[in-house]
Amino acid sequence: MTAALSDHPTPPTIATTGSHHAPPPLPSLAVERALGRVRKPGRYAGGEWNSVRKDWAAVALKWCFAYPDLYEIGMSNLGLRILYEVINDRPDRLAERCFAPDVDLQDQLRAARLPLWSLETRRALRDFDVLGVSLGYELTYTNLLDMLDLGGLGLTTAERAEADPLVIAGGSSVLNPEPISDFLDAVLLGEGEDAVLEISDALERMGWHRRVRGPVGEWRRGVARAAALRELARIPGVYVPSLYRPRYDPDGTFEGLDPVTGADVPAVVHGRVAADFETHVHGIRQIVPNIAIVFDRAQLEVMRGCTRGCRFCQAGMHYRPLRERAPDVAVEAAQAILKATGYEEIGLTSLSTADYTYVNEVATTIHRLCPEANISLPSTRVDAFTVELVDAIAPGGRRSGFTFAPEAGSQRLRDVINKGVSDEEIARCAELAFSRGWSSLKLYFMIGLPGETMEDVLAISKICRRVLEVGRRHHGGRAQVKANISTFVPKVSTPFMWSGQDSTVEIEAKVAALRKTMHGQGLDLRWHSPFSSILEAALGRGDRRLNAVVRRAWRKGARFDAWDEHFSYERWLEAFEEEGLDPAWYAQRDIPFDQPLPWGHLSCGVTQEFLARDWQRALSGKIAADCHWGPCYNCGVPVATGFECQTGEDGPRQLLRQPEDVEPSGRRWRYVGPPGDPRRQVAGSREVAAHSWPYDLMGTDVQSKNAGLSGLASLVDAAGGESTG
């Protein structure tokens, strides 16, 4: 739906009749008893505002979105909010939700032999036609297995009965779905807004939603599973793993992937890009959870994609091309969302909201039109503009913590990872933030980055001390600098995907050395044990042989691996060993350029050649400027996605829709920067994002009580990113 439509929020009503397949919901007493014995039963009860309950008999194709993490995390995911509305807007289709049950409910379900149910109508997962699985994080894979098992489905595509739902995965982890390909019937690459409808159309056309009796009285569907999958594989962006077979050379290295006999499938599957991001907003009637969740606020995605080109960042490569919401569309949508949800806070989300061309005017206008609402900016970058912006929209708010992510301690290493920020800039930001009332700064760093030396590691403490000194000048002994250290994980579809992770010994030595230098009042160092990062890297860069490992680990009891209290690295090591594999080989080996990659047949738009060139630039310590303003690096996205890169008449480059695409009149967006914009003179240099932002924020009357920025970066990671398509 568009923003204009929702002048009055009315929860959809339930239709009354129909002849479609409608198994009964689970008995309510059984559900009540199970929920009476678990913590936070509100997670599993449904009944939220804007959740949609439809009459099953009146609806043909039924989706259930299964999110393999707790309700509080999954409900914060914007992709889920979007796709839920895209499907439920069609009267003849429905989408329900299901989240990974916590271990206490898992025990209750297994004891009572109750299947895992959907929140809306409390049907077992196996009663649906399609399970849409959101995979944003490798450490949720075992939760997916639990959900399939508890939902009553066959675990793998080979074990599933003809009548079982299709399991279709999406999200950023599916850029390499090979380690769990056995458990997935199909994978949707890229953004889902258009593709879920195409998949639904195809399945309905084939009769997938119809149930018929088979020769021995068993339930089947209107079309055979294998035939349905072959048909789905013809939809752009859909990858059906079972139609390909991998080859390995004798020493176990991946050699290539071949289509199975007779399969008419593409050699390379390209990710989808939503066609109308600039002008249409999906996800207006966002579900308002009854219990507190991680991002308990309305969300409006103002920009998708990012062209800063940080070399470790998967999302920055995955969600290209960069698209910005037209300001009038954004403002109208924000009003509609606030009205439809009753939320007191709206987040303007994107991978880097301060880069959104219209962030100032959109935030100001939203504030003027909805003075009661707080506005928050979750993902921000290190520069003066960010500080001023946050200060401006939260003048009376808490000044408890401000978060920056310099990612690396030394200038040299920040150039290697292409995080274009200098020590001086960090100090300048700190100066601004401390002077505007914040007394505590949180800085995020990674350890184990490619080419990192001990000197780079120790530079972390240098920059922290420098920032602390600035803070002391403003706040004396009250000033605090908290450094959060995580272990670098090479992600597929980034220039760093060929780079191996440091060994745990190296990581621990680096952290120990850093720890020695980080004593003192006002300095705080936090870091996570590197073992879950090894697993993340191994699963992220893995091949199909890891399917057996995942299954073994799950059988040994692995679940909620992202949660420290449940994670056991020993369990995973055993599982690897029993399959004759080594997680270190997957995580820590530098992959030669000429070696075929197990995920090489899946593309999100940027080409492998571009990534390789950028990796070479990284090795020689050269930065690449933000191509929104700087030169073109020929990343391949325009060719793969049908979007076109155009150089503006007066300098800056930008991505514009191709002229033949239909655009609603008056909404066509094209950036025309203000004359004399200082960014143009410095385009291409590292100073691009520096202190010279043209808007005078301090002169505006923006007011918002709680921008609530502290700790957000870590939560974004935990929730698998906010802007999944």
Binding site: E32, Y44, E48, A111, A340, Y343, E344
Partner: protein
């Protein structure tokens, strides 16, 4: 703080959809409902002002309600039909507005007028025949010493003066429940005192007292304040595909008295229900004509 210009008494019911909300969750839910309905709610004093919606008594997580009360203070006067339609626009799922009437803004706080509450529930794991003598014993007792736990503090108190009436019933819900789960079931009805001095009676405490009387355990009831982490032992092994249970889970499903389908039937205000003093037996309810 905004000045309260009008005070509305909300009479509402809570249905299954909102059953598993804690009191705090419910408060947030109502606040959003007021924003959706664009209702000019007066706010409280303080650093973070909250909308002035005062519940007569928090509704425990897991419990339904048929006649609960709350006072809503408005910063601007609204007519009855206007407020009713604005509430209807954004009413939280699982809550039903039964009645709405204008109260004097300066009147006494709702909670101070509350004297009693009626509860109806089903007990699984015990038959009506077995339960009836236990209920009789509770009513015949002079005192019922019990312990109240709040976080780590334990205080002793007497449940007996809070228990005004207790009846065992063979209702249809109980019979249906018994069929469904293969254990005996009995219906239970009780009237519990709400008192400024003595505190308020809790249905689950009465059930626990009954279970003690019968020598049975109670199933772990859901409590809002509980947030323990049930750690899974690291060495837990899940046999291949066998889906075995942890010992804790087996305990959790062992035969016990279990409270289900619990409903708060009605909250009683002093002017609606005259109670005799603390020694126990309730006066015949003087059901005043409702102001509905």
């Amino acid at each position: 703080m905004s000045e309260s210009k009008q005070r509305w008494r909300l009479v509402f019911a809570r249905d299954d959809e909102a059953r598993f909300l804690s009191h705090l969750d419910a408060v947030h839910l109502w606040e959003r409902a007021f924003r959706r309905g664009e209702i000019p709610v007066a706010t409280s004093e303080g650093f973070s002002p909250r909308p002035r919606l005062i519940f007569a008594a928090p509704l425990p997580l897991g419990m339904l309600a048929e006649h609960d009360l709350a006072d809503l203070f408005l910063a601007e006067r609204l007519t009855h039909p206007d407020l009713r339609s604005r509430l209807a626009d954004g009413m939280p799922r699982g809550y039903r507005l039964i009645d709405l009437h204008d109260e004097w803004v300066g009147g006494p706080a709702l909670a101070t007028r509350l004297v009693a509450a009626d509860y109806r529930l089903t007990l699984l794991g015990v038959s009506p025949d077995r339960l009836a003598p236990a209920a009789g014993a509770l009513l015949a007792a002079a005192s019922l010493p019990r312990e109240k736990r709040r976080e780590k503090r334990v205080t002793a108190y007497d449940l007996r003066p809070l228990l005004l009436d207790l009846q065992v019933r063979e209702d249809e819900v109980a019979a249906g429940a018994a069929d469904g789960v293969g254990v005996p079931a009995a219906g239970l009805w009780m009237r519990l005192r709400n008192s400024q001095e003595m505190g308020s009676g809790r249905a689950e405490e009465v059930v626990a007292a009954l279970a003690d009387e019968l020598g049975l355990a109670t199933a772990a009831a859901v409590r809002e304040e509980e947030t323990p982490q049930t750690e899974t032992p690291k060495d837990e092994r899940r046999p291949a595909e066998a889906r075995a249970l942890t010992p804790e889970a087996q305990d959790a499903v062992a035969p016990v008295v279990e409270m289900v389908r619990s409903v708060r039937e009605r909250l009683w205000l002093a002017e609606e229900l005259a109670l005799r003093d603390a020694e126990g037996r309730p006066a015949a309810p003087s059901r005043l004509p409702s102001r509905v």
